[in-house]
């Protein structure tokens, strides 16, 4: 597991990017297909749950305040076509890779990049109500929604 943590470094990302060009190839690619990796390309939350390791989030999402208003991708992918599918591809590959090898930290933790994506996702929908509290601030001092609302999508 430690080894894996190490491997999921920038070098790995680089390798992944390379592989992504000629997708479908490589172990990750295989899993990607096998484990209905296409799920990453749909918006159907059930698709995420194709991986049982996503099951708990899925189950909790079903009873969350957002079940009827936001699907996984609303919170876990950035707005805009290209960024969205870049993120999907990157995560899809990361997760397929991790799932296949079984190398990942448990409990699963959101990584820094995806946390940022999610923070922005909140604003996508709640920009208006929070505009007063966002305020002007020095770079890197954005208000974190998750600090207080980490359970809106699932516990």
């Amino acid at each position: 597991m430690d080894a894996a943590n190490g491997m999921r470094g920038s070098t790995l990302i680089a390798i992944i990017l390379g592989l992504l060009l000629g997708l479908a190839a490589g172990i990750g690619g295989y899993t990607f297909l096998y484990a209905k990796g296409a799920s990453y390309l749909t918006n159907d939350p059930a698709a995420c749950a194709n991986c049982h390791v996503m099951q708990s989030q899925y189950d909790q999402w079903l009873v969350s305040s957002h079940r009827s208003v936001a699907v996984c991708n609303d919170c876990h992918t950035p707005p805009g076509f290209i960024p969205k599918y870049f993120t999907k591809a990157l995560n899809g590959f990361n997760h397929s890779y991790a799932f296949t090898t079984g190398w990942f930290h448990e409990p699963i933790q959101i990584n820094e990049r995806n946390r940022q994506v999610t923070e922005q996702a909140c604003r996508k929908c709640h920009e208006n109500i929070v505009q007063a509290i966002e305020g002007p601030h020095r770079p890197g001092q954005e208000l974190s929604c998750i600090r207080c609302h980490s359970t809106v999508g699932h516990f």
Binding site: I129, A132, Q141, C148
Partner: protein, 471 residues
């Protein structure tokens, strides 16, 4: 791809500037024109509602020449007469009331009996009025210079220079509305603290994170303090750290005492509202939860979320103050607060009894002309027991801000008081300050661990204060 995290800046101007406000605008009513919601809530701090251990009770009184107030908060001295014995000979034994909302800070300070029994310095103003502009005027634009000048005035003179209780300008930059610290006491205090932690010349207004500022603006006033030297310079005793042990060690080193106890002659210290210090020892501070998160929680007004400027007890506002983070029913959360507070209160009473017992013993021993060495040691134990107990008694959350630490401090206070009684009965031993900032035990019990030597009464502790106890 790269800039997917860019922010829409135009979204960041939620209000119309009805009037221009700048660094000369003191009157909150004027700021209120631009921020009517926050201003309306700010004015609500006149409300008085009592909780089990907090809030405040509105007691009617007939105004008179000396004191025009028609409503005051309940007297803590009447609620617990033991406090008079504890503070005998100090102004607090004359008048000490439950604190209430920010709206009252200036009048409550002006008319407390503590002003009558003792001539107070201008320093007091630092935390009871909007002093930002007055300081600057007094210092011809230099905040620090004005601060130093006002400290040395008699209170009544300084009083003439201020108009408002804490106001918008004291916590906000009028241009950006960002939080700022305007209090010299905190600016210097936090710099000293950070230095002790290895961070040189820390400038709070440029180096603190936004989340830290949500606690620092409160730390400007809700802290332990003393008036240093003849200049009566307001000083926060954080030179060794924020823990009670570290603060006492500093006072001992300085040889400082607030007063000499009337009944025992002990060189005593008065602890005052160390909310910031205690909060720092608690699990919430550790988890990045700031004062404002609980005392100014976001609240929805119309289509906007704003910070609730009705600063008050969270017990009166549990759904906004607690429930976003803790998905428990309101009743359960109230019960959790009370469980913590009831435990603390029970130990506070035990410690109070122990201290009062020591004071009585000392009185008798002095009349009976007991050995001076015994008296001296007992007086030092009283100084310690009193400061530790007062640190929790004066802290206003009745243990909630740091529940285990609060009771830890009371346990130590009890031990000090009882050892003092024993000293008067000829039991030898060294006064010590037990500290939990001791180096972690490599293994379970070695003499070093927890600073207690097996078998010995007390035992020298790491970080313990040198023999000298001031006064």
């Amino acid at each position: 791809l790269v800039n997917i995290f860019e922010h829409k800046q135009e979204a960041r101007n939620p209000f119309y500037r009805v009037v221009e406000i700048d660094d000369q605008t003191e009157d909150p009513a004027v700021w209120g024109k631009n921020f009517p919601m926050q201003y309306d809530q700010y004015k609500k701090t006149v409300d008085q509602v009592r909780t089990r251990y907090g809030g405040s009770e509105a007691l009617p009184r007939t105004p008179d020449e000396a004191d025009p107030r028609s409503i005051v908060a309940q007297s803590r001295l009447e609620e617990d007469p033991r406090l008079k014995t504890m503070w005998a000979g100090y102004a607090f034994a004359a008048d000490f009331r439950e604190e209430r909302g920010h709206a009252y800070m200036l009048e409550d300070q002006t008319f407390t009996q503590r002003q009558v029994v003792k001539q107070q310095p201008g320093t007091c103003m630092h935390c009871h009025a909007s002093v930002y502009l007055p300081y600057k005027k007094l210092g011809n634009g230099d905040l620090m210079a004005g601060f130093e000048k006002m400290n040395q005035m008699p209170y009544q003179e300084a009083r003439k220079l201020v108009t408002h209780p804490v106001a918008c300008i004291d916590c906000h930059d009028p241009e950006t509305m960002q939080l700022r610290v305007t209090r010299p006491g905190f600016i210097e205090g936090i710099r000293t603290l950070k230095a002790a932690q290895g961070v040189e010349n820390f400038d709070v207004n440029t180096m603190a994170t936004r989340q830290e500022m949500r606690a620092y603006v409160c730390g400007q006033c809700h802290v332990e303090y003393y008036f240093k030297g003849p200049e009566k310079r307001l000083t926060y005793p954080w030179h060794k750290g924020l823990k009670v042990d570290e603060i006492l060690a500093y006072y001992d080193e300085e040889g400082f005492k607030d007063w000499e106890h009337a009944e025992t002659g002990a060189p005593a210290l008065k602890a005052q509202h160390p909310e910031f210090e205690m909060w720092n020892q608690g699990i919430h501070a550790r988890s990045g939860v700031a004062c404002a998160d609980c005392h100014m929680p976001y609240t929805r007004v119309g289509s906007l979320k704003i910070s609730d400027h009705h600063v008050r007890s969270p017990v009166l506002n549990i759904n906004n103050a607690c429930q976003t983070c803790h998905k428990w029913p309101e009743e359960e959360l109230r019960a959790r607060i009370h469980t913590i507070q009831d435990r603390t209160f029970a130990m506070r009473n035990l410690a109070m009894d122990a201290l009062v017992a020591l004071i009585n013993d000392l009185k008798i021993a002095r009349q009976a002309a007991a050995p001076v060495e015994q008296i001296a040691r007992a007086q030092d134990f009283q100084r310690k027991a009193q400061f530790y107990l007062d640190f929790i008694e004066a802290e206003n959350s009745m243990g909630f801000h740091a529940d285990q630490e609060a009771v830890r401090i009371l346990a130590q206070s009890i031990d000090f008081a009882r050892q003092g009684q024993m000293a008067l009965r000829g039991v030898p031993g060294l006064p010590t300050v037990q500290t939990v900032s001791a180096p972690p035990p490599a293994q379970r019990t070695t003499p070093e661990v927890g600073g207690v030597a097996p078998g010995r009464e007390g035992g020298a502790a790491p970080g313990a204060a040198p023999g000298r106890t001031g006064g």
